[in-house]
Amino acid sequence: MKVRQLSIFLENRVGRLAGVAQLLGEAGISIRALSVADTNDFGILRLLVDDIVKAEEHLRRNNVVCRINNVTVVAVDNRPGGLAKVLTVLNQAAVNIEYMYAVAESSNQRPLLVFRFTEGEAAVAALKKADIKIINEEQLFA
């Protein structure tokens, strides 16, 4: 049920994000979701892409520091309270969220949440128990 995410280290310098986007474009990679975490000195670019192995290879060959890690993608009801419901479940299960970002499902514009948990398994178990839909890679790129 895990979705692989590509995380990229970016120096806080003009043109770095453009540089990485350029490289991905060259390699014919399609970006499905994107999030940037930034600090004063550096940023971390997190991407869900269609061909993650190819993307990683191409970036590494071009001296970009990156790594593949697992995230959990969850479908949320597209109505007020939808996000709260998911977060309440996680809160009650006492799982920590390292970070999260949102993306819209391409087929029906349903919101999807991308989570990185400190304890991934406990979180997934709690979500399943509450009947919250977890999306796999196939569904994501369908």
């Binding site: 995380s7 280290f9 120096e11 000195d41 550096f42 001296n63 520091v65 790594r67 970070y99």
Partner: protein, 432 residues
């Protein structure tokens, strides 16, 4: 009445050279008899102390390098038994181990005499109130200046570094006439004063003795114009004695070396050949009156030149040109010696980091600032901000712990640090 050591600065050069030769011969004898390192070095070169018949013969004798002190850490260079040592100082070293220097009672007297001669050259007398704002402790700056001012009979305030606001308060309330600190710290003090609407010209402060880091003539002008005080350079290094090896006289046309204690030479840093007066090269000192840890032809790494022309102030002592650069890659930042290799060992001690780094030194209006740019590799890269931040903090803390410098650590992408052919360009010194 002038203290008698004041006259030493005006000594007849023939008499001075005779004294230097006698002291040098005695020093060589003591080194040969008491320090295994020197005995071996002399034997290897086929030299005996008696081979020094005139001052020029010194050029036949071997050099001492900072690495030799490190190899004989901590007490291997002593020429006297440890029970004759009354003080130990140390400066930061290249591998985390400090460079150790030891003083006998007599050495401390020589040191205090040297520093008091510096003060005398700057017109300071026993009537003055002197505040020492160099760091105290293992660093020679604080205690060196302290004992010199006391020897002259001044009223001494052992303030130490830091706490700019308090520095200003004491300058005003205690009626400080004379201040000793690093030039960059004084600029910081001036700026704090300006911010607070504190006018240094309204205080009794008359003269500052600034040392422990290289500074320029332009900086002297800036300090003097902005604060109204007289700015004098005091030069020294702990290996030779500490601050007080040489200093500016009122002419500020080169620093007079107290060559009755510290014998200078200028050499070609590559060939080791002695250069003519006036030529630029690496400054080398032989201590000729020190007892505890005399050093023979110690290579300072500082680039300077010597001028034997009589100074307009009347002093006969040789003058060295203000030091502006070094022959090696050592940096002096806020009075702390730093070799890039020290940063390298810190990085290697942090799990997963590779020694790809660059040092940027800036003088940001007042203080010297060190930025260490470290390349992030796939091995240490984490998807989480806090993991990267804790990596950065760990490097920062280790630099502080081991080297004693607060540095800003920045994580950069690989390949951003320029790799010049063969040897990486490690240091960008952007100080003016």
């Amino acid at each position: 009445m002038m203290p008698d050591y004041y006259l030493k600065d005006f000594v007849d050069r023939n008499a001075l050279e005779a004294l230097q030769l006698q002291r040098m011969q005695e020093t060589l004898q003591r080194l040969y008899e008491n320090v295994a390192f020197y005995r071996q070095a002399f034997d290897q070169a086929g030299l005996k102390p008696s081979d020094l018949r005139c001052l020029a013969d010194l050029s036949k004798f071997p050099f001492t390098r900072k690495a030799d002190l490190r190899d004989h850490y901590p007490y291997g260079m002593l020429a006297v038994p440890m029970h004759d040592i009354v003080r130990v100082h140390a400066s930061s070293g290249t591998t985390g181990k400090p460079t150790v220097v030891c003083y006998t009672k007599r050495d401390l007297e020589i040191w205090a005499e040297s520093v008091s001669r510096v003060f005398s050259m700057g017109g300071v007398s026993s009537k003055d109130i002197v505040m020492i704002s160099y760091g105290y402790g293992l660093f020679t700056g604080g205690l060196g200046a302290h004992y010199g001012a006391e020897a002259l009979g001044c009223s001494v305030i052992p303030m130490g570094g830091g706490s700019t606001e308090k520095q200003l308060m004491l300058i005003k309330d205690f009626g400080v006439n004379v201040l000793c600190c690093t030039p960059s710290f004084f600029i910081h003090i001036m700026e704090e004063a300006e911010k607070k609407g504190f006018d240094i010209r309204q205080t009794n402060l008359r003269v500052g003795f600034f040392g422990a880091e290289p500074w320029t003539e332009e900086m002297r002008q800036r300090i003097q114009t902005q604060s109204g005080i007289t700015a004098r350079d005091i030069f020294g290094l702990s290996e030779i004695i500490g601050p007080g090896v040489s200093a500016d006289c009122p002419c500020c046309a080169g620093l007079h070396i107290f060559e009755d204690h510290y014998y200078p030479e200028i050499i070609d840093p590559d060939s080791g050949e002695v250069k003519e007066p006036g030529q630029e090269g690496e400054l080398v000192f032989t201590t000729i009156s020190k007892v505890g840890m005399p050093l023979l032809r110690y290579r300072t790494g500082d680039i300077s030149s010597l001028c034997y022309d009589k100074c307009e102030c009347g002093r006969t002592l040789v003058r060295m040109e203000k030091v502006r650069r070094r022959s090696d890659d050592m940096l002096i930042i806020r009075g702390v010696n730093l070799y890039p290799s020290q940063i390298e060992s810190v990085l290697l001690s942090v799990k997963g980091t590779e020694p790809h780094y660059q040092l940027l030194v800036r003088r940001d209006r007042a203080m010297d600032e060190l930025e260490v740019q470290v390349e992030v590799t796939a091995a240490v890269f984490s998807d989480e901000v806090k993991a990267l931040e804790s990596l950065r903090n760990e490097i920062q803390n280790k630099i502080k712990q081991i080297i004693g410098l607060s540095a800003k650590v920045t994580l950069v992408e690989p390949g951003q640090i320029e790799r010049s052919t063969g040897k990486a360009k490690r240091v960008l010194d952007l100080r003016k």
